[in-house]
């Protein structure tokens, strides 16, 4: 029997790593991937709690999150392609047209 808190710590670790990726990396693709990591960490949490409570609602929310992740990836990559086509760069801090 693995205590639920272990799942929480696992999820916490993944989430933190994802946050680190988002705030430190320059490559937009990597930032998108890090967001996927964070969403994934949340899913672990939901399923673990669902198991704890013995109900399937956590599973349902995990499915919603996956749908959300799919939508996010599709739109994010669409934006990325449009941006790359215009500027030929993938680095987030070079996306500075709106800066003054």
């Amino acid at each position: 029997m693995i205590p639920t808190s272990h799942y929480l710590f696992l999820s916490l670790g993944m989430f933190t790593i994802g946050v680190i990726g988002v705030v430190t990396r320059r490559n937009v693709l990597l930032i998108l991937m890090s967001i996927e990591l964070m969403l994934n960490a949340v899913n672990i949490n939901l399923v673990a709690f669902s198991r704890l409570a013995g109900s399937a609602e956590g599973h349902v929310f995990a499915i919603f999150i996956m749908a959300d992740a799919a939508a996010e990836a599709a739109v994010g990559l669409g934006i990325l392609i449009a941006f790359f086509r215009n500027r030929e760069t993938l680095l987030g801090d070079e996306m500075d047209l709106l800066k003054w």
Partner: protein, 168 residues
């Protein structure tokens, strides 16, 4: 015993791959490790007796989203950004803040462990057979959010097509 071995194996795999995702220089390698992390998560779902979620994770996350990522990776020039600095200028501050967030959450869990019955999960029997249970909840109580999710996906699809199109 087998249960614990499975969990710690997949947990270690997931965490190590996650670290490698954010530290690799080559984005394709990052993507490969992200796939590993996602599959390890799928393994943890399986260990939690969430079979349906396990297979959704494999088909949708690994088989769908990551293929999309790799597809885009092949379209764009990966090599060009490989020889540039990988971390932005405020990476130190960002790391610090992220770690602070992690520490805060750790404290929260540690504090909550005494208050909530976080120790022992319910028996797996309550969720048997899990696919049917998930289906009943999804299409019973949560049917409206489900439909909304489908609209969200539709909008995202149209948005992605419009943005990625060459000439508008």
């Amino acid at each position: 015993m087998l249960d614990q071995v499975t969990f710690y194996f997949f947990a270690t795999l997931a965490l190590v791959s996650a670290v490698l995702v954010v530290t690799r220089r080559n984005v394709v390698h990052s993507a490969i490790f992200l796939i590993t992390a996602l599959l390890a998560t799928a393994g943890i779902f399986l260990q939690l007796h969430a079979e349906f979620l396990f297979i959704v994770q494999v088909i949708l996350y690994a088989g769908g989203i990551m293929v999309l990522f790799l597809f885009v990776l092949m379209l764009v020039n990966v090599d060009a950004s490989m020889h540039r600095p990988q971390f932005n200028r405020q990476w130190g501050l960002g790391l610090l803040l992220a770690l602070a967030l992690g520490a805060e959450l750790t404290l929260a869990i540690a504090a909550g462990r005494s208050g909530l019955p976080l120790g022992d999960p319910a028996s797996a029997k309550m969720l048997e057979p899990s696919t049917q249970v998930v289906g009943k909840v999804l299409f019973g109580e949560y049917v409206v959010p489900f439909e909304m999710a489908s609209i969200l996906l539709l909008v995202a699809m149209i948005g992605a097509v419009v943005m990625a199109k060459k000439k508008v």
